[in-house]
């Protein structure tokens, strides 16, 4: 006979303000099988938990219902309290009378009655609960970090320094990401490369880190602690072991006029190239789309000059299979390019450039060696207009969010320009200046007050060319929307930060969720910002949303801490709320008929085939079996199984049916 204890929580006033908790407790006491029913101000407090555990012992309870908040909040708390009192934790259920009742209804009898109904359903359920034992799965203590920008580098170093192996995968020939392209960084104006490259070298030298550059994730299968990843190492067309990075091949390559991605299209590079001098690894790749040999079948000059005979024209992509226990997504972001701004002539006028191009122009290692020279004719621009929010915060363009970094880097750009062209005049068109961050506001003030950057609050409607000048037409909204026209030599657009083009496909590959802009979704916007909804996969950096460097680094360290915590144990304890396939005595063995519809439906590849054989080894039946390590308890297979041969532990047909019946038979005696 069931002996159920019901514990009603006031949650301070969160519940008791709208629900008559004493009445709920009194009603619960009358439900058949309930032998103990009390209410208390804070059930989750120490004395509250004490009430639960002493009732278990004194009244010999066989099940506990805590009517309080969402199980997401305190189910672990109360299950632990039950376990400490000697009751199997899975015999404890939460009745959510806060989120599902008190928070969403007005004070009144109907609200109290609903709370009673919720309690009654859970009492009916808990009577059908069975004691369950947790599942233990081994953990592979190697992390896979996708993306070798500053976030990926930081995460890799932090994980490696906590003593675990890291596999870092970067799709470009070198790690470094967008940060390696930047000239100086706000708000300190220290050189980006100078602070980044030591970290890159550290990655290369750390014995715990295996770096696969010029590589991409092919597939990811498995589950937390036990992922299997296949990595495609794209053919560099050279033997990395032999190559010393001397650079002779790059110097001699006859094809030199290829727009360099690293220089944001402003500079040129040869067909065999290293993206930038500090690249890690410092080994070139052959760009097969532009290499004369791949296009026309002859040349092979690089092969002839290579002192170590490292060139391999016939090299094929290689697939590497690795086992990892956790994944950190640090795939970064991109900025809007192309025909997104026809009204600004972007892509049409060569002197209308984007922020990344300005970074390259201002960088000492850039195509102009850090001199301000506009792309069209190489002249020093005398008047430069910076346009913030180019695309961002613009629902008409489909990007309603703030790209967050543009206010700061636009101030920085204007400042850098002024430092290099003392007589130059920088103008900034802005909507609002968002400079929240340590020393950020001061930095913007410095641009305005010390470096004489003229800030105009207003938007630019159009840019067109007239007599070698770019005419910027805008309005100054602080002067009564006075129309403005500036004859500029160069215009820099702070284009919106967007997700990488491959972000959606990659998210689908690793089974994580993403938002409508293809930025990856965190598990909880406030309390779980570095986790995804897929256990064992974490987020770092701008793949989640546009972020500046300190934020990316902080999040990367956060993700690394999560990975290190996961790897701190040899076995992972998982809740046993998983699917199980029916097993019976012979001659049926199982009601499963082996149609394996469940197998095709399982998003986690958790369903296996099991052959039931007689003592003579003869195959009697092939039936489905759930791998407890892989199953996430989603229940898709349960819904599909025609013979109802699969059940979810903790949410069984019997339990759910009892709940439904308890609701339907309101006020009548219990089943």
């Amino acid at each position: 006979m069931a002996r159920i204890g019901v514990f009603i929580c006031h949650c301070g006033e969160n519940i008791s303000a709208t629900v008559d908790v004493a009445k709920v407790a009194a009603a619960a006491a009358k439900i058949p099988g309930v032998v103990h029913s009390v209410d208390y101000k804070y059930m989750c407090s120490d004395p509250g938990q004490q009430m639960v555990s002493s009732a278990i012992k004194e009244k010999n309870l066989t099940g506990v219902v805590v009517a309080a908040c969402s199980p997401r909040m305190h189910e672990p708390t109360f299950r632990r309290a039950c376990a400490e009192a000697g009751l199997n934790p899975f015999l404890c259920e939460m009745a959510n009378i806060r989120e599902h009742c008190s928070w969403v209804h007005e004070k009144g009898e109907a609200t109290t009655n609903k709370a009673i109904d919720i309690v009654r359903t859970l009492v009916a359920k808990v009577k059908k609960n069975k004691a369950l034992l947790p599942i233990k799965v081994p953990v592979t203590k190697t992390a896979l970090v996708l993306g070798g920008g500053i976030a990926g580098i930081q995460a890799s170093l932090d994980i490696a320094n906590s003593g675990h192996k890291v596999i870092l995968v970067e799709k470009e020939p070198s790690i470094g990401g967008h940060m390696s392209q930047l000239s100086e960084t706000f708000p300190t104006l220290d050189c980006s490369q100078c602070i980044l490259t030591p970290r890159m070298v550290e990655v290369a030298q750390n014995p715990n880190i295996t770096l696969y550059s010029y590589a991409e994730l092919e597939s990811l299968e498995g589950f937390i602690g036990n992922f299997k990843a296949r990595i495609r190492k794209k053919a560099r067309s050279l033997d990395e072991k032999l190559c010393t990075g001397c650079g002779l091949c790059c110097q001699k390559c006859p094809t030199k006029k290829i727009a360099s991605d690293f220089d944001a299209g402003l500079g040129m590079r040869p067909a065999i190239y290293v993206p930038f001098p500090q690249a890690v690894p410092n080994k070139p790749v052959i760009d097969r789309e532009h290499c004369t040999y791949y296009l026309k079948g002859k040349c092979r000059l690089c092969e002839k000059v290579c002192p170590t005979q490292a060139i391999r024209f016939d090299q094929a992509d290689e697939i590497v299979e690795v086992e990892v226990g956790a994944v950190v997504m640090a795939t970064g972001f991109d900025i809007k390019h192309g025909d997104f701004f026809p009204e600004y002539g972007y892509g049409n006028y060569r002197d209308v450039i984007d922020g990344l191009q300005f970074e390259r122009m201002a960088s000492a290692s850039g195509p102009t060696l850090g001199e301000m020279r506009r792309p069209s004719d190489g002249k020093v621009p005398e008047i430069v207009v910076f346009i913030a929010c180019a695309g961002s915060r613009d629902p008409a363009k489909g990007i309603e969010y703030c790209s967050k970094i543009c206010c700061m880097y636009t101030a920085k750009h204007a400042m850098l320009y002024r430092h290099k062209v003392h007589h130059g005049k920088p103008y900034v068109f802005y909507m609002d200046i968002r400079a929240g961050g340590k020393m950020y506001e001061e930095f913007v003030r410095r641009a305005i007050e010390e470096d004489g950057v003229q800030y105009i609050r207003g938007r630019v409607s159009r840019i067109y060319e007239r007599g070698g000048k770019l005419i910027v037409k805008g309005a100054d909204t602080l002067l009564g929307a006075r129309p403005m026209e500036i004859e500029a030599d160069m215009v820099v657009l702070a284009t919106a930060g967007v997700a990488n083009p491959g972000a959606e496909a990659l998210a689908q590959k690793v089974h994580i969720s993403y938002d409508s802009h293809h930025f990856y979704s965190e598990a909880h916007p406030k309390l779980r910002p570095v986790e995804t909804n897929t256990a064992g996969i974490f987020l770092a950096g701008a793949c989640q949303a546009p972020k500046d460097i300190p934020e990316s680094v902080a999040q990367a360290s956060g993700a690394a801490a999560k990975v290190a915590a996961l790897f701190s144990q040899d076995e992972l304890i998982r809740e046993p709320l998983i699917a199980v396939v029916d097993r019976q005595a012979p001659p049926l063995y199982s009601t499963c008929v082996g149609c394996f519809l469940c197998q095709t439906s399982c998003p986690y590849q958790a369903i296996e085939k099991e052959e039931i054989r007689g003592r003579d080894g003869q195959l009697i039946k092939t039936v489905a079996k759930v791998n407890p390590g892989l199953c996430q308890g989603c229940g898709t297979c349960v819904a599909l199984c025609r013979s109802k041969s699969i059940d979810i532990q903790g949410f069984s047909h019997e339990q759910v049916y009892a709940e439904v019946l308890a609701l339907l038979n309101r006020g009548e005696s219990d089943v």
């Binding site: 008929v593 082996g594 519809l597 013979s643 041969s645």
Partner: protein, 269 residues
């Protein structure tokens, strides 16, 4: 007809198969053909094939007592051939488990020994709904939801819950049917309005993306409920939304259990 009998004799005599499942004359005046199980060459006389031979004999492939008798040759109408492929896709039939004797309206017999040859044979068939079926289905679909509800309420009111539709269906092969689950009893046992509705809706849904439209459920129904309307509606929905036709390949993803990013529908994205 004689070709069929000779083929059966030959197969049984050479012990290629232990049994031929075919059609025989039913008893009584104007009785429809019924299934016969020929286990000796001498019994092949009773095999017939004519317009009355409509039953989908593939249903017997899934009966344990028939399976026990050994490898069978099956006189197979187009529906039965598709059923065999669907059963193979659901891991119920393996290659070389049986020999299909495909018959057409002219009495031509084509022995098909492998699933691959069955696939090739089926690919050449017209598997669309017939003109008559289409007209009837369109008439049904044109009803508004309230009229449709009323229509089924009247039809299901006659349902006796005899489960003849289940017994006749070659794809209702579960060793324990949902309606027999009584812990808990999701589908009520009595033949009242709610129970009848639940049973019939569940039966149709369990066939969504699987039914090959053989029509045996409706033929088996002693009170003449047009169950084929539900099945045909579902199979045209599956065809329209997922570009999927059941019983065309021995290895096929199930329309109801798989998600493909390039499915025509996009509500899930």
């Amino acid at each position: 007809m004689e070709t069929l009998r000779n083929k059966a004799r030959e197969l049984l005599a050479s012990k290629t198969v232990q049994m031929v499942i075919g059609y025989g004359r039913g008893s009584g005046e104007a009785a429809p053909a019924r299934a016969v199980f020929i286990r000796a060459a001498a019994e092949a006389e009773s095999l017939i094939f004519d317009a009355s031979c409509q039953q989908n004999l593939a249903v017997y492939l899934m009966k344990p007592e028939v399976r026990q008798l050994g490898k069978a040759a099956l006189v197979a109408t187009p529906s039965a051939l598709r059923t065999i492929l669907q059963l193979a896709a659901e891991n119920q039939v393996k290659d070389h488990d049986l020999l299909a004797l495909a018959v057409d309206a002219q009495g031509e017999v084509t022995p098909l020994a492998t699933l691959q040859t069955i696939e090739a044979h089926v690919a050449a068939l017209d598997c669309n709904l017939s003109a008559g079926e289409k007209t009837e289905l369109q008439k049904y679909v044109a009803l508004d939801p309230e009229q449709r509800r009323q229509f089924w309420q009247e039809e299901f009111a006659r349902c006796l819950k005899c489960y003849a539709c289940r017994g006749a269906c070659p794809l209702c092969y579960c060793s324990r049917c949902t309606v027999e689950c009584n812990q808990p009893q999701w589908i009520p046992v009595p033949a009242h309005d709610l129970g009848n509705l639940e049973w019939n809706v569940m039966r149709a849904m369990h066939l969504a993306g699987r039914c090959v439209n053989c029509g045996d459920c409706s033929r088996a129904c002693p009170v003449g409920i047009p169950l084929y309307l539900l099945n045909q509606r579902l199979l045209s929905e599956v065809l329209a939304n997922f570009n999927f036709r059941s019983g065309m390949a021995a290895k096929a993803d199930n329309a109801m259990s798989t998600f493909k990013p390039d499915d025509p529908e996009d509500f899930i994205r």
